[in-house]
């Protein structure tokens, strides 16, 4: 029993070193230009760290170097959702989207405002709203017991309302079925089948919003162009 405890302690102490080792090996492959092998290594790493934005970022880098800018954009977007304040992730995402004619910051929106809006990840924002709610409850509780609600209770209520609105807006974006064109080009058809004429084609890296699906087809909207149509599932990568 004592031995097992000691082994467990040693493993716990060295697990961060083991975790960094797999990243080091993948980085070595990437540096040698073996992007495909590096990608495989990072994807294995993702099994142990499914919520690590840096692993998504590195996967995006591998895809970018392999010329798959659509898949690169999808992975940068996943990393951005988890760590929106990271400047490297934002840079690479903006660069990749720009290659596909897309923008991270919508036209007309100040960059500062965009950065403020994405200052916290969705999970962080949810935590903030929870904490504000608990604070408001506490202050109300004290006020009720003391038969006098304090000024701070009002401030907490206003803060909670604003943050709840912010969370709601971010939640709407999170629930948006965003996807990116992953094949070199994709045809947008008027119906879910190749017998329907292609009304437009989109290059890889374009963002689309999935509205519906039927068999092997998605009904999508291209927000940047305002186009609507059907696209083969194989040609897009859901974010």
């Amino acid at each position: 029993m004592k031995r097992w405890l000691m082994l467990g302690t040693v493993l716990a102490l060295f697990s961060p070193i083991f975790a960094q080792e797999d990243l080091r090996q993948a980085e070595e492959l990437y540096r040698q230009g073996k992007f495909s092998a590096a990608l495989t290594s990072y994807e294995n790493c993702l099994k142990n760290y499914p919520k690590d934005p840096f692993v998504y970022y590195n996967i995006g880098n591998c895809y970018f170097k392999m010329g798959s800018k659509g898949l690169a954009a999808a992975n940068y977007y996943r990393a951005f959702r988890l760590a929106p304040r990271d400047a490297d992730i934002r840079h690479n995402l903006e660069l990749t989207l720009a290659a596909g004619g897309e923008r991270l910051v919508p036209a007309g929106v100040p960059v500062v405002l965009h950065k403020l809006f994405f200052g916290l990840s969705y999970n962080e924002l949810k935590g903030l709203v929870y904490i504000l709610f608990w604070l408001t409850c506490l202050l109300a509780w004290i006020g009720l017991l003391r038969r006098k609600l304090s000024y701070w209770t009002l401030v907490a209520c206003i803060g909670l309302t604003l943050c709840a609105g912010w969370l709601y807006a971010r939640g709407r974006l999170e629930q948006e079925n965003l996807a990116v064109i992953a094949s070199p080009s994709a045809e947008i058809r008027s119906g879910p089948g190749t017998n329907f004429p292609a009304s437009a084609s989109a290059a890889q890296g374009h963002l689309v919003t999935i509205q519906d699906e039927k068999d092997a087809w998605y009904q999508v909207i291209l927000p940047s162009q305002g186009l609507r149509g059907w696209i083969e599932k194989d040609t897009v990568e859901k974010i």
Binding site: F64, E124, W134, W141
Partner: protein, 590 residues
């Protein structure tokens, strides 16, 4: 003395004889080769002096001879001439190089014929052996049983017309080619007599591209007649599947009828025969469509023995300097008709493709196509230009085959001068001399992301929200509903304390009235006892308690209106009594 003289004469005589002996030999550098290979035929003549003529090569229908070299060396007055002929085979099968003749001092020397085996593609035996043929031999006029198909077809047609002094035959190497597969067409004009002015008219073709491949001359014995012939060679490629036709070729010739025919012809005399025309038979090809399953890197080439090679003009350049990338494809058929190679985007390079070049390899049935692109690296580093894929269809195996170039490595060092001569779209020069060359993604993250912060962790505690809501509701309910009870308890406690402290009837009365007013909302200022009791009844106070209250009330009134009859003991008793009555009321109100 005589003996010495005799020996000297004998030595000189033997030496002269040795010098005068001429030896002719022929050899090839290999006995087996593929269609892609070259064959070197070496003819060596030794023991000659003075002016000599060239050796006479036999007819070589199975080869294209495109290079000749002569090497001369003289040792001890003996001259050796070495003639080297570089040849490319035309057909698969056994190819024979007939006897080579050499005339010197009115004597003719001949070599043995040499047979080499020609294989398709790269299937040639790698252990090609050097063959040599020495010693003179008589010419062999027997037909070669291993003739290639085209030659066999021409010979068969010629045999059928044996005896005619002039005739024209045409044959193709393949009657059922695939689209864009190279087909050889030979048109051969046989003549056994001299002729004057024989203009040739090439055949017309439909659904075919035709390219001239030059002409050869030769001699052939058919039956018991010796014919000379002139052969015109073409290469055909079909553009579309279906029928393709080759019309008849024609030769219009005139023959002379007298030894002075040339003069007679010059002056328009009748010694020259009228125009006669010989035609070849038309040929129809059935062009097959290429099978499905074309690879993405298939650009239309059909044949076998293709090669591809990629080459960079330099493997070390400065950033901003150009590297010329050349990809060359060689192989049979007309590569000009194939589509152009698509250069993929290369990370770190700007690519400027140039127009491809194509043409025929000299004296060969093979052609080439060269694709060029100028690569301009944007920044320093070690770059790998990946391999390029190029596919062709092999009609022998009926399958597509893909060739790959070797990847190339280019080392790019930092530019030593800022003027690159190229306009980078993303380049920006700042005032401090730093030039942005290109926009690339940032490097990898070398560590895992930091652990989740407290906000993320708090976001998971949704059960706490429920607890907070429950607590708030409880507090609210407690605050709203428990308030009256608290107030009531407070009134009774306060009244009890006042009664305990009361030292006069007035204080007892005030405490009682305050209790009634606050607890039961009975304002006793001008209210008769009867109304007070009625109100008590409405609040559910028992009649006995009401009666006790009436006693208390009357005693208080009596004390108020006749205080003289009461002492301190009476006050204490009254206060105690009031306390008991009000306590009873309080309990009953609960």
């Amino acid at each position: 003395m005589h003996r010495k003289l005799f020996l000297l004469i004998a030595f000189l005589g033997l030496a002269t004889a040795a010098v005068a002996q001429v030896v002719l030999s022929a050899s090839t550098d290999k006995t087996a080769l593929s269609l892609d290979d070259e064959l070197t035929l070496s003819v060596e003549v030794t023991g000659i002096s003075g002016n000599v003529t060239m050796p006479q090569l036999p007819s070589l229908p199975a080869f294209n001879v495109y290079s000749r070299e002569v090497e001369q060396s003289t040792i001890n007055g003996r001259t050796t001439l070495l003639f080297r002929y570089t040849m490319v085979p035309r057909f698969v099968g056994n190819a024979e190089i007939g006897p080579i003749t050499f005339s010197y001092n009115n004597q003719t020397y001949r070599t043995d014929p040499i047979t080499v085996r020609v294989y398709r593609g790269n299937a040639a035996q790698t252990t090609a052996q050097t063959a040599a043929a020495h010693a003179p031999l008589q010419a062999d006029t027997q037909p070669d049983p291993h003739l290639p198909p085209l030659e066999a077809a021409l010979s068969k047609q010629a045999q059928a017309k044996a005896g005619e002094p002039f005739f024209l035959v045409a044959a193709v190497s393949n009657r059922t080619p695939y689209v864009n597969e190279a087909v050889s067409l030979s048109v051969r004009f046989y003549y056994s007599r001299s002729f004057y002015d024989a203009p040739y008219q090439k055949p017309t073709v439909s659904n075919l591209f035709i390219e001239d491949e030059g002409s050869v001359e030769g001699k052939q014995t058919i039956g018991d007649m010796v014919y000379h012939y002139q052969e015109q060679r073409y290469q055909l490629t079909a553009a579309e599947p279906g029928k393709a036709t080759i019309g008849p070729a024609a030769v219009r010739y005139k023959t002379g009828s007298s030894p002075f025919a040339a003069f007679d012809r010059l002056f328009g005399g009748a010694a020259v025969s009228p125009d006669r025309t010989v035609l070849s038979a038309p040929i129809t090809l059935s062009v097959r469509e290429l099978p499905a399953g074309k690879p993405a890197s298939f650009y239309g080439a059909v044949g076998s023995g293709y090669t591809i090679k990629a080459q960079a003009s330099s493997d070390r350049v400065e950033a901003g300097q150009a590297v010329n990338l050349t990809v060359t494809v060689k192989g049979p058929g007309n590569l000009k008709a194939t589509q152009n190679l698509t250069f993929p985007a290369l990370d770190g390079f700007k690519i400027y493709p140039a127009a491809p070049e194509s043409g025929r390899i000299a004296s060969s049935a093979r052609s080439y196509k060269t694709f060029k692109a100028v690569l301009v690296p944007a920044a320093s580093g070690i770059y790998t230009i990946p391999s390029f894929a190029w596919s062709y269809f092999n009609p022998d195996t009926h399958a597509y085959k893909t060739l790959q170039t070797d990847p190339l490595t280019v080392t790019v060092v930092a530019a030593t001068k800022t003027e690159s001569g190229f306009n980078f779209s993303n380049a920006q020069v700042s005032s401090n001399g730093v030039q942005a060359l290109t926009n690339d993604i940032l490097y990898l993250k070398m560590i895992h992301a930091p652990a989740e912060n407290f906000l993320v962790k708090a976001g998971r505690l949704y059960l706490v929200n429920i607890a907070a809501i429950v607590l708030l509701v409880i507090t609210f309910l407690f605050a709203v509903l428990g308030r009256k009870k608290l107030v009531r308890q407070k009134i009774w406690v306060h009244t009890k304390a006042q009664l305990k402290k009361a030292s006069s009837a007035q204080e007892i009365a005030d405490a009682t009235c305050t209790y009634l007013a606050q607890r039961l909302d009975i304002h006793t200022g001008s209210l008769p006892l009867k109304d007070i009791l009625a109100t008590l009844n409405r609040h559910g106070i028992a009649p006995a308690t009401s009666k006790a209250f009436a006693v208390l009330w009357r005693q208080l009134e009596a004390q108020r209106f006749a205080p003289a009859g009461f002492n301190a003991n009476n006050h204490a008793e009254l206060a105690a009594y009031a306390s008991r009555v009000l306590k009873q009321i309080e309990e009953e109100l609960k």
